[in-house]
Structures are given as structure tokens and as C-alpha cells.
Symmetry: C2
Subunit: 224 residues, 2 copies
């Protein structure tokens, strides 16, 4: 139906939209796609001709409903495959992205449907990102970054904003994973680093770069 390249463009546009970018410019998209602006222009024309997005030269682009459907479905496949790789095939969360980039383009409704069943209808992928449902709905994230948390309250790690293997390995090394419990002690004014306690044990200091990429929530049901 659609080529890998088309699906990749549409998915990237959707992800920029989900990150709050309203109008997507050619250069932004070129950077996100690791390609050149001229290539982006060519592709935007093609996608506009297929009515997958609206494109006004020099004005940027916006997904149409059918473009949104393709993009959401590709994102759903990506995140279901990442979940499969971690839950079923013992991959770590820093190894799955590259493989899921390939698997997300496999065309088979039955395959994805059965994968969803097999995995038990997961709602979030190994990075804490919501998995778009079959009807296209994507749950809004109720999480916030660690630097916004109030001190001395129990927190649970729920996701990451940066998905680079380096960052994910760094977290793993310090024992931080999805579901980890922690308590923010204080923000150090000097370098904006954060002092915290992990799993009621280790005190830990995290730089502002790390803290701004860690999604958490308050632990409401502490004895669950």
C-alpha cells in the first residue's frame, strides 16, 4: 500500500505533532528524518498528491485524517513490536528501536491483531510510551518530568523522553527502569542536578539532562 519511506515520513510527522509541534517546517522534518530539506520537499509533494497531508509551499504541512490513520497504525506496530522484543524475546530496552524500525513496515493486519492478543493487549511500550489502539486513539500521557516533582513524595518511573541507547543504558546502569520507585530530595541550585533516593535505599544524584528526560508520576497506591 504505502512505501517504507512514506510510512516513515508520516510517522515522524505524527510524533512531532504529539510532542506539541503545531506547524511542521521542512527543516524540522529534515532534521527528524536525518535527511536533506530538498528530499523532504519532494516527499511532501508526493504525500500531498496522495491526500495524506496538506502542504503549502513555504508554509509547512499538516496530516489529513487518512494520513493520520497510516501514521498512527505505523506507530502502533512499532510499539507493539518493541513490547514483543522485550517481553517475549528478552531484548533490553536499549536494543529494540532499530529492529522495530524495520518490523513496523510489515503489512499484515492479522499479524498485528494476533501479536496484540499474544502480548495481552499492552497499553504502553518498554519506554513507557502509549501504544495507539486499533481505533487510532492514543492515550495522553499523565506523566511529568522529574524536575517538576515536589520533594519528599514517593514517585514511580513511567517513561523516558530521550530514547537513545546511551541514555537507556545509563539509566539501567544506575538501576533505574520503568516501575522504579524514587523520592526526590532536593534540586541543587548550582547545576540544577537532583538528589534522590532510589527504591528506599541508594541516594543518587542525577544531572539536569537526565532529570528532564525522566517521566514520573506520584505513587498513589503505595502498598499495591
Amino acid at each position: 500500500m504505502h512505501s517504507f519511506a512514506e510510512e516513515n515520513y508520516l510517522k515522524t510527522i505524527l510524533k512531532l505533532h504529539l510532542c506539541g509541534v503545531q506547524v511542521i517546517t521542512t527543516n524540522e522534518l529534515a532534521e527528524a528524518m536525518h535527511t536533506k530539506a530538498s528530499s523532504v520537499t519532494d516527499m511532501l509533494k508526493k504525500l500531498a498528491a496522495k491526500k495524506l497531508l496538506k502542504y503549502e509551499p513555504y508554509k509547512g504541512c499538516l496530516l489529513t485524517n487518512s494520513g493520520k490513520t497510516v501514521a498512527t497504525n505505523t506507530l502502533r506496530k512499532h510499539r507493539l513490536w518493541e513490547t514483543f522484543l522485550v517481553n517475549t524475546l528478552s531484548f533490553s530496552w536499549d536494543e529494540v528501536h532499530e529492529v522495530a524500525e524495520q518490523l513496523e513496515h510489515i503489512q499484515s493486519d492479522k499479524l498485528i491483531q494476533q501479536l496484540d492478543v499474544f502480548l495481552g493487549f499492552p497499553t504502553h511500550d518498554p519506554h513507557g510510551d502509549p501504544i495507539p489502539q486499533l481505533d487510532g486513539k492514543i492515550a495522553a500521557s499523565p506523566f511529568f518530568t522529574l524536575d517538576k516533582a515536589k520533594p519528599d513524595k514517593q514517585l514511580v518511573v513511567c517513561g523516558v523522553l530521550n530514547h537513545s541507547p546511551d541514555f537507556l543504558k545509563y539509566l539501567t546502569q544506575y538501576g533505574i527502569q520503568i516501575g522504579s520507585h524514587l523520592k526526590m530530595i532536593q534540586i541543587n541550585a548550582f547545576d540544577s542536578s537532583i538528589a534522590l533516593v532510589l527504591d528506599q535505599k541508594q541516594p543518587l544524584n542525577l544531572s539536569k539532562e537526565v532529570v528532564k528526560n525522566l517521566l514520573v508520576k506520584y505513587n498513589t497506591n503505595q502498598y499495591e
Copy 2:
């Protein structure tokens, strides 16, 4: 590393080799690939330039060791994925081929390694074809077609030569699957059809077209 097209050509050449075709001609390959002879010539030149096969104009082609490695690995991936689809995701054996044609091109050694572990190191795919092992070894088939069987001996269905969904659905409809037990009664001289008994119950008549595509073996351990 290699494109989908290259992998498909190499895999098809290997499969022709495994079917006993010695020298593979341009037209044979074109028919097997559902493409034109001119396209085949172009690709053979490219694959020869990459030392994946030897190609002499007008003389046909032969895989080199490195070409054989790529082809075998692609076939291994195809058959492991088919096994996954049937065993884990509840596909039927007539639905898997098209999806496996896509999945066989995913590039990740760890993925295939872990899939193999997860599936329990299967030796045969859902059609009874041997799964090439990691070292490239492909088990020779000890099976024979039903028309070669001696009458009145217990047989076990072990594979199929024709993989078309029509044929596979036909077998399923008559209760024939891998592992089915049957006994050949007689060959009808008039139309070369075969009378047999399935699972110690139903008598059944199968046409010569069906019989020549059914692989069986003698049931040595009847009480296993």
C-alpha cells in the same frame, strides 16, 4: 547489507538448487521470480559483481559460498518466522507464506537467535520443510511422495511439495495435516488416483495431482 531484491534472487536460486536443478537458466529464474528475463540478466550481473554467484553469459549461474550463506540465512529466517506464525500466533499453514516473505528480510542476528530459542529450536517449518541451522546445514529430506509408498503400510504425513494456499486448504478440508496417519490401499490404474484410509477411519480417494505433492514416511514407531 543486501537489498530485499538481492536476497529474494539468492533464496530462489538456492531453492532451485535444493530441488535438484543443477544449472539455473535465466528463463527458469525469471519464471520462479515472476519477472522478466531481462530483469534477471541485470540482477545476475550485479550479484556476480558482488561475488555472490558466478555468472557466465548464456551459460547460467551458480552460487558462491558467500551467496550460499546469504541465501541459506534468508531461507532460515523465512521458515523460522512461518513456524512462529503458526505455533505462536495461531496462523494456519496456508496463511503464513506471504507474511514470511516480508519478515525474512528483517536484519537482526539477535532477533533470529532469540526467536529460535523461543520456538525451542524447531527443525521443520509448518509445511514440513527443514529449517536451515545456524551453521548453514540443511537436513536432507528422508520423505517420499505418497505415490511411491507400498500398499497397506502405516504412513505419516511429513510435508508438501506444493505450497499454494489452495492446495493447503484442500488438505485441511479433508483432515490431512502434518502428522496425520494414513494407509495406502491401492493405486487406481485408470486415473492414477490413490485409495487410502485416514487416521484408521475414513476411506479417501486422492487424485494423482494431490498424491504427487504429499510427502510421507513409514510409521516406524507406531505406539509413540
